[in-house]
């Protein structure tokens, strides 16, 4: 990040410099890429995350069965153990659930829903948080005081509790909501609990950047404040936000799973990983552990790999640790 900020400063001061190499080339030559190549943990996490995302994204083609195709479900095949255990069928590699759905396929479709909700809520909270943080840091005064008060209040409650309360209220408000609305409520609930972190981080860095020379220079030549905010300050405060967003993806996916597990999350017709775990929980005592364990393992795998990536990114972007 530091290299791009100095680039911005020199181009801004009208000195003729030779044309910089393309963004992609700079990225592969940069510190971040090198540190990635030197961190086996980060590579492993990235590979796992990539496989999960790939399977989720292309579940229609990758999955051996379509768990939502009611015609292909056979109740005789319900609650079959994984293929390598006595009684399992090779047709269903990881076994089947109580309705005879192939668990491996259900996992892929479920991961798609989990990832969708997770990424969507991180995106919403990122946009809201970064905008408010930028505004707060740049405008200062009463606007700043008000936004920060709201942040203080939000921060005094744990974010999972906030998401739970909002989603619970939403569920109670629209008891027979169509699926789209249920998703919207869920995404709003998770993102409302997460935006504060972005707002505070961005406000902090904006306060620092606001007084730097390139901002003053832009101001002197008469650039509009809104343009300074978006074109000059924003790119320079995004580093920490990137790290935060990565870690928040893991949090959002876990939050979604938790809410779905409690019966508040996604509609039961399109089971996410959390819903699958909730269903499997009822069969725990009759010995059908696989209905719970596979979605759980998938969830942990995704969350862990994203967290590891976030950890690595934080170190890679932190110039003090280099």
């Amino acid at each position: 990040m530091s290299s791009s900020s100095s680039d911005g400063a020199t181009t801004g001061s009208a000195v003729v410099i030779p044309k910089a190499p393309g963004r992609l080339a700079r990225f592969f030559d940069g510190d971040v890429w090198h540190s990635f190549c030197n961190s086996p943990m980060a590579i492993l996490a990235a590979v796992i995350a990539f496989i999960c995302v790939f399977c989720a994204l292309f579940a229609n083609w990758v999955a051996p069965h379509n768990p939502f195709d009611l015609a292909s479900l056979e109740l005789i095949d319900a609650r079959l153990p994984p293929a390598w255990i006595e009684g399992g069928k090779s047709k269903y590699l990881l076994g089947t659930d109580d309705q005879g759905r192939d668990l491996l396929s259900a996992l892929m479709y479920g991961a798609r829903i989990s990832l969708f909700v997770g990424l969507a809520s991180v995106f919403v909270s990122l946009v809201v948080g970064v905008s408010l943080g930028l505004l707060s840091g740049f405008a200062g005064g009463k606007v700043d005081a008000f936004i920060m008060r709201v942040c203080d209040v939000m921060l005094s409650f744990p974010s999972l509790l906030v998401a739970l309360l909002i989603d619970g209220l939403g569920k109670a408000m629209f008891p027979n909501a169509p699926d789209a609305l249920a998703y919207a409520v869920l995404i709003v609930a998770i993102s409302l609990s997460g935006w504060v972190q972005y707002a505070r981080t961005v406000r902090g860095s904006t306060l620092v950047e606001r007084n730097k020379e390139y901002v003053q220079a832009a101001r002197v030549i008469g650039v509009k404040p809104s343009r300074i905010m978006v074109r000059h300050v924003l790119p320079n405060v995004l580093g920490p936000v990137l790290v935060l967003a990565t870690i928040q993806v893991a949090f959002a996916i876990i939050a979604e799973a938790t809410l779905s597990f409690l019966g508040l999350g996604v509609p039961p017709t399109s089971p996410s990983l959390g819903t699958l775990i909730r269903v499997g929980n009822d069969f725990l005592f009759s010995g059908e552990w696989w209905i719970t364990i596979w979605p759980g393992a998938m969830l942990v795998l995704i969350a862990l790999s994203v967290n590891l990536l976030g950890d690595w990114l934080r170190d890679a972007l932190n110039p003090r640790l280099r």
């Binding site: 005094s156 005592f285 759980g296 969350a303």
Partner: protein
């Protein structure tokens, strides 16, 4: 300093009023509790009678004013689902949640602090690397999943610990405790471990990083130069200075424990307030939801207030200028 405390208290009251208002306003437009209670087949007369009995036919400001007045006295009316007083319901459930949260908190401290100290002192050793990975796992593993795993291992496979409920409890006045029976302890083990896992990981990481920070300071070097042995330096000087931030965070975490108890209680069917709340959400039981929301907000706000004041007492640097709350 007095001004600071007063300002914080004013803020706390404002937060509570906002929570009360938001909760009440939303609850006004939530589902139809009458249908939930009577079912679809009730006659219109029955409905009107029930609305009257529950006070649902009065105008909004009257209902809100009465709500606040009653809430201050701890009175939240009747549960729409169970037809019993909400205050009684909560009073019945409160001990279960409090004992669970307290046990989990203590467990997190007595396991987390020593492990954190170890990870800081033996930095880079295999075991402390493993501890750090474990703590990352503690963050990535959702608590409900961890609970399910524990049930699968200890209750289903080995059948050595019970997986739901509180077991035998002893009533002391209006407080029921599971601490006094063997059965109560057995029931407490799995939920308490589940609830404490995330906190344990947090304490471990916090103690480790604070400890590393403190070990770098001059007075530690000076203590070593004076010829104090490792034990005196590590535990007499370093750990003591590490504990202030740890205790502060743990104070704040106590609120977290009570909130996260919702999840643990659902997994283990622990008869606490969290389970009451989840059941209330599923039945749109407005008074119970309102009471829980206000109670939890109250707990959070008071803990925050206490921690703020504790800062003033503990950290003398904050006395110097009046802007103690600025950071």
């Amino acid at each position: 300093m007095l001004a600071f405390i007063l300002r914080r208290m004013g803020q706390a009251i404002l937060v509570m009023l906002t929570v009360a208002f938001v909760a009440f306003m939303i609850f006004q437009y939530v589902g139809d509790p009458v249908t939930n209670l009577l079912g679809q087949d009730a006659t219109p007369e029955q409905r009107i009678q029930l609305r009257k009995d529950l006070g649902l036919d009065e105008p909004f400001p009257v209902q809100f004013a009465r709500f606040i007045g009653n809430a201050v006295q701890g009175e939240f009316g009747l549960s729409l689902r169970q037809g019993r007083k909400v205050s009684t319901l909560i009073a019945e459930r409160l001990p279960a949640t409090m004992e669970l949260a307290m046990t989990a908190g203590v467990l997190a401290l007595i396991v987390g602090i020593p492990l954190g100290v170890y990870a800081a002192l033996k930095r880079g050793s295999f075991l402390s690397q493993a501890l750090m990975t474990f703590s990352l796992l503690g963050v990535s593993l959702p608590s409900f999943l961890f609970g399910i795993l524990l049930i699968l291992i200890f209750a289903v496979t080995f059948k050595i610990l019970p997986s739901f409920g509180r077991g035998d409890v002893v009533a002391i006045g209006s407080w029921t405790t599971g601490y006094l029976t063997v059965d109560g302890w057995k029931h407490l083990v799995l939920p308490a471990i589940t609830l404490s896992l995330a906190n344990m990981a947090l304490v471990l990481r916090l103690v480790r990083s604070e400890m590393l920070e403190v070990l770098r300071t001059d007075y530690i070097k000076f203590a070593r130069a004076r010829g104090l042995n490792n034990r005196a330096v590590h535990f007499g000087h370093a750990l003591k200075n590490t504990l202030v931030p740890v205790l502060t965070i743990m104070g704040l975490q106590l609120g977290q424990l009570i909130a996260f108890a919702i999840i643990t209680e659902t997994v283990f069917q622990w008869p606490g307030m969290g389970l009451l709340f989840i059941q209330a959400v599923q039945f749109a039981d407005i008074p119970v939801m309102a009471a829980y929301l206000l109670l939890v907000s109250g707990i959070f706000v008071s803990i925050n207030l206490l921690v703020d004041m504790l800062y003033l007492v503990v950290d003398p640097r904050l006395h110097v200028d009046g802007k103690a709350g600025a950071h």
